[in-house]
Amino acid sequence: MKDTLNIAPPVIEAEALDLVFQTADGPVQALKDVNLSIGKGDFVSFIGPSGCGKTTFLRCIAALEHPTAGRLTVNGMTPDEARRKRAYGYVFQAAGLYPWRTIAGNIRLPLEIMGFSKAEQTQRVERVLDLVDLSGFGKKFPWQLSGGMQQRASIARALAFDADILLMDEPFGALDEIVRDRLNEELLKLWARTGKTIGFVTHSIPEAVYLSTKIVVMSPRPGRITDVIDSPLPRERPLDIRDSSQFIEIAHRVREGLRAGHGDEV
């Protein structure tokens, strides 16, 4: 209902998107007929088993992969144009910090590439370090920090140049449950403060339900969308919302969607 009333154009729009990889074993259909519209300020999770194309779709938005058919726009542009306009920050599964640079140096790197002034660089680095709760760690090297801190630094790096869109590919997948809960909570706060549009790939049902305003359920072979759930949960979400009946209901629907997707192939 909210979508039909929304007059602002979607930030990300996919229409009949297909992607076929040519491999040594013949063509593999990674994405088939994907249709999706993401509005400004949405927090969209992509969930599904491995091979369902969730990461591939995120990479298409980032112009790291190129669809073989269909239409995909980001901010009304092609993904490649959007990439050159620095429309998004991308957080990968691993922190991927450059070990020869300090934490501050890593966060400064995209700013150097984009040609921000020295003063602006320093100021922005300070601000995002503070945003991810890493103030005082700027002079450390990545390998001197824990995995959770490294991942927070990589989020800070993606935030530093203030793109409207944040794309995150299982950013907390390699972290333990406790750290993950904390980072999820922080991510929600960050989202509330910045109003960014977030695309988030995960294979954890609770994570998807807890974080998202929109949950996209996908299934493999061929990779496709089987269900899109608009979450009725409020934007303000304390951790214990996960014990509410509404939360459990949505989680149940996601699980059913995943199971149905699997049912087709067996």
Binding site: A62, A63, L64, R83, R84, K85, R86, Y88, G89, Y90, F92, Q93, A94, G96, Y98, P99, W100, L109, P110, E112, I113, M114, F141, W143, F161
Partner: protein, 280 residues
């Protein structure tokens, strides 16, 4: 008598080293320096003792003291040879060869066609026996240090090239994707990601090239040189059985080679401090 003393020294040094290497101080810098130094000193003492006891003819193996005396007696000859062979031949060849390899590696990296075409040819040239090439290069570039530098260039170029090309390809997929998401240009991603990531490989290449350079410069002099130079001196001195002088040249070459290698390793530790092999 002298042998007994030497064996006594050996036993003492051995005991000391075993105690130091297993003792509570074994992680300290002093012990880590002392152990190999003591080991080397023991070798020299044993060598000296065996020579003094007359177990080997001086013509076969001169005593260390005799070699040291020779070094002290002929500094002008050794210095002139050092300048000619190490500074002019080896060092200039090393700088030209490794520098050119860096440049060609970056070009190869940019043009995949060259990488596919040049590297197999490179491997083929690297497999050529350089000793066979040396007389040819001497006829091309003359008896001076230039022909020695040319031999060194031919020796160090391809090991260095192969290392740098591998290094430029060593940045992780994710680190490259990051550069793409920031809309980085080829030059930016080369300068800020690929070259720093290649540094461990670059220094591997430099260390290999450093030892090759000295060998190349010395051996190339066997095929023609002015009347000085370490290779020239070794081959002529050996011809008149002046083995002390041969050993003196070898000692200078070993010292120069170690110092050069050590210098590169020191710079490497500073540049690639972030690499797991350098962290402590």
């Amino acid at each position: 008598m002298i042998l007994i003393l030497a064996f006594g020294f050996w036993a003492l040094a051995w005991g000391l080293n075993v105690a130091a290497a297993n003792g509570p101080m074994r992680r300290s810098r002093a012990v880590r320096v002392m152990v190999p130094v003591l080991f080397g000193a023991t070798l020299l003492v044993m060598w000296e003792a065996i020579c003094r006891a007359g177990l080997v003819e001086p013509v076969v193996l001169p005593a260390p003291s005799a070699i040291a005396a020779k070094i002290a007696a002929s500094p002008e000859i050794l210095w002139a040879d050092f300048v000619q062979t190490v500074l002019k031949g080896a060092l200039s060849g090393f700088l030209i060869g490794t520098g050119a390899a860096m440049v060609v590696a970056v070009i190869c990296d940019r043009v995949p066609f060259l990488r596919a075409g040049l590297l197999p040819v490179g491997n083929f040239v690297a497999a050529l026996p350089i000793i066979g090439l040396a007389p040819i290069l001497v006829t091309w570039f003359g008896f001076g240090w230039q022909s020695k530098a040319a031999v060194v260039v031919a020796m160090v170029f391809f090991p260095m090239l192969v290392n740098v090309v591998a290094g430029l390809a060593s940045a992780e997929r994710m680190q490259r994707d990051l550069m793409a998401t920031w809309g980085a240009s080829y030059g930016q991603s080369l300068w800020k990601l690929r070259l720093p990531a290649a540094m461990p490989f670059v220094f591997n290449g430099l260390k290999i090239a450093a030892s090759l350079a000295l060998i190349g410069a010395i051996v190339a002099e066997y095929f023609g040189s002015p009347v000085f130079g370490m290779g020239f001196r070794i081959s002529t001195a050996a011809g008149v059985m002046n083995l002390e002088l041969v050993w003196a040249e070898i000692a200078v070459a070993a010292l120069a080679g170690s110092a050069f290698y050590g210098l590169i390793a020191l710079i490497e530790a500073g540049v690639t401090f972030w690499h797991p092999s350098q962290r402590n």
